[in-house]
């Protein structure tokens, strides 16, 4: 009863949040500011309030961070489950678990003081505050999420298969890549989706490292602004202005993204448990 009550309560909070966001975004639709918001230029003092550059920036950053973090995370998991020496497994896992506890602001500061100047001097293009700097930093942030999810799944599968595969004379690499990983598809997908969600939702790294220029980046060395950083930057503006209202549109988009991520996860989990029963 108590659990049901708290479940209903938290569901109501999410619904209330959604209602609140829609309520505050509604004036944008009715007053025709909608088309203003979905345009390509953010020049508030010229009456242009486009948040499309921020949407593009968010998507580019999340995808590029995942492109870096996902292969590395997968590699770490394979290393743990048989490709690396056994005595290194515990230290590596310890390190990854430890990484989950590091506050985001630490990554941001290290990036501002070390990574950004390094990129600026070695590339000799732009200020260093860029899509590249942010995606490198963000990939370190989402790495533990990816490793832990895939690892949890592999921990259930690998021990079950190992005796059989070794008896059949299948090599470790073949066992992992042809048998274990395909049967860990739920973990692989969940890691990708949850990692993406985490990358989209992060505020501080984007705000500190990405440069925050509201533009479509031409190269990875250009500055970008994400939706989350945009909210953080404009939240202190005049609360009666269109600048301020754009905040709710950005919030609504972020909320819908994370909701989609969660629904997808739920769907995958259900499917995987169904397959687990039939197998």
């Amino acid at each position: 009863m108590l659990f049901q009550g708290s479940a209903v309560f938290s569901a109501l909070i999410v619904l209330a949040l959604f209602g609140f966001l829609v309520y505050f975004t509604l004036p944008l639709f009715s007053e025709g500011q909608f088309t203003e918001l979905f345009s390509w230029h953010w020049r508030p003092f010229h009456g242009e309030f486009g948040i499309l550059p921020m949407i593009v920036g968010t998507v580019l950053l999340a995808i590029s961070a995942m492109l870096i973090a996902y292969p590395v995370g997968l590699g770490i998991c394979l290393f743990i489950h048989g490709l690396g020496p056994t005595w290194l497994v515990r230290p590596v896992l310890f390190l990854v678990y430890g990484m989950t506890g590091i506050p985001t602001v630490i990554y941001g500061f290290v990036a501002v003081f070390l990574l950004v100047p390094l990129l600026r001097t070695t590339l000799a293009h732009g200020t260093g505050f860029s899509l590249l700097a942010a995606s490198l930093t963000l990939s370190i942030l989402v790495l533990p999420t990816i490793v832990l999810l895939i690892n949890t799944q592999l921990q259930q599968i690998v021990p079950r298969l190992r005796l059989t595969t070794e008896a059949l004379g299948i090599s470790r690499i073949h066992e992992l890549t042809r048998i274990s990983l395909p049967s860990a598809s739920y973990g692989l997908l969940a890691a990708a989706i949850l990692g993406f969600g985490r990358a989209v939702g992060d505020t501080l790294i984007a705000l500190m490292v990405a440069g925050n220029a509201a533009q479509i980046p031409g190269t990875a060395f250009d500055s970008i602004r994400t939706l989350t950083a945009h909210i953080a930057l404009v939240v202190a503006t005049d609360s009666q202005s269109t600048i301020y209202h754009s905040l709710f549109a950005a919030g609504l988009i972020l909320f819908m993204t994370t909701t989609t991520v969660n629904l997808l996860l739920h769907q995958i989990r259900r499917r995987s448990s169904r397959e687990g029963q039939s197998a």
Partner: protein, 278 residues
């Protein structure tokens, strides 16, 4: 690591708290028969001055409790308008839209702050005209060699639209001109200082109160951006700092505003790099 930082911070707060104990002035007497709470929020430039005053008042009169929070100018006006705080600070005047939303709003200017263009100390540029700065910020000039410096791209750093610092720089130095979309945006005066102090080819702008040796203030149209030049009117890129109340201030809030506007407040304002309004 974190806890050590925290305890260091506590110690620092503790020390500043008690080192100021002996300094009791007559201006504090106006609080003698008052008690209650004042919540203050808003502009971040105001915080050092507000905290100084709050500490002195609360030390002398423990029945008075004053809290100081940031949030930015827009937040300050919104909070005081909605009655959430007693004083809402802003680094810009209340806009006409805000005034129509909160018609009772009263503004109390108490200090002047200058905004200076800044470069990295290794940059050999010392002097720029406002025309040159306008050209750079609008994208017409993109290399330091075009204004007499090294052959290197100019890295422009600007502030977000909520910033009072940006607002005054944009109005009085850029004459409401364009700022290129590719300019990096930093969220505070502190972040601006970090960014410019570590980038040899940076150009940014920041509050005179925040200037130190890690960045170099550029002489604008042959006028150095100093407190003296801001006081005697030679340096044009200045703004007022405001305290706002919703309707006429209550006795305690009124006493606080009087205190900030008095001699004690003026000393504190000067010590933090701002200029008291007479």
């Amino acid at each position: 690591m974190r806890s050590r930082l925290l305890s260091g911070l506590c110690l620092a707060i503790f020390l500043t708290f008690f080192s100021s104990l002996p300094a009791v002035s007559e201006e504090l007497n106006q609080f003698a028969n008052l008690q209650g709470e004042i919540d203050i929020a808003g502009g971040t430039a105001h915080i050092p001055v507000m905290k100084d005053a709050a500490r002195k008042i609360m030390t002398q009169y423990p029945h008075i409790n004053i809290t100081v929070a940031g949030g930015g100018s827009g937040v300050g006006i919104q909070k005081v308008g909605e009655g959430l705080v007693g004083i809402g600070n802003a680094g810009r005047p209340v806009s006409s839209k805000e005034l129509s939303q909160y018609p009772q709003m009263i503004s109390f200017p108490f200090a002047v702050d200058g905004v200076a263009p800044i470069v990295n100390p290794v940059n050999k540029i010392d002097n720029l005209s406002s025309a040159q700065i306008k050209d750079i910020f609008s994208g017409g000039i993109s290399n330091w060699k075009d204004v007499g410096g090294d052959d290197a791209a100019i890295h422009i750093y600007s502030r977000d639209e909520a910033s009072g610092t940006r607002s005054v720089f944009w109005k009085k130095c850029l004459s409401r001109g364009d700022i290129v979309e590719s300019a990096n945006i930093v969220p505070s005066n502190g972040a601006m200082k970090i960014a410019v102090s570590r980038d040899h080819y940076a150009l940014g702008y920041m509050s005179i109160g925040h200037l130190d040796e890690t960045v170099k203030a550029v002489v604008l149209d042959n006028v150095a951006p100093t407190q003296e030049n801001a006081i005697n009117g030679l340096y044009p890129v200045i703004r007022k700092l405001f305290m706002n109340t919703n309707g006429a201030p209550k006795p305690l809030v009124n006493a606080f505003i009087n205190y900030i506007s008095g001699a004690d407040g003026a000393a504190s304002i000067t010590s933090h790099g701002y200029i008291p309004l007479k």
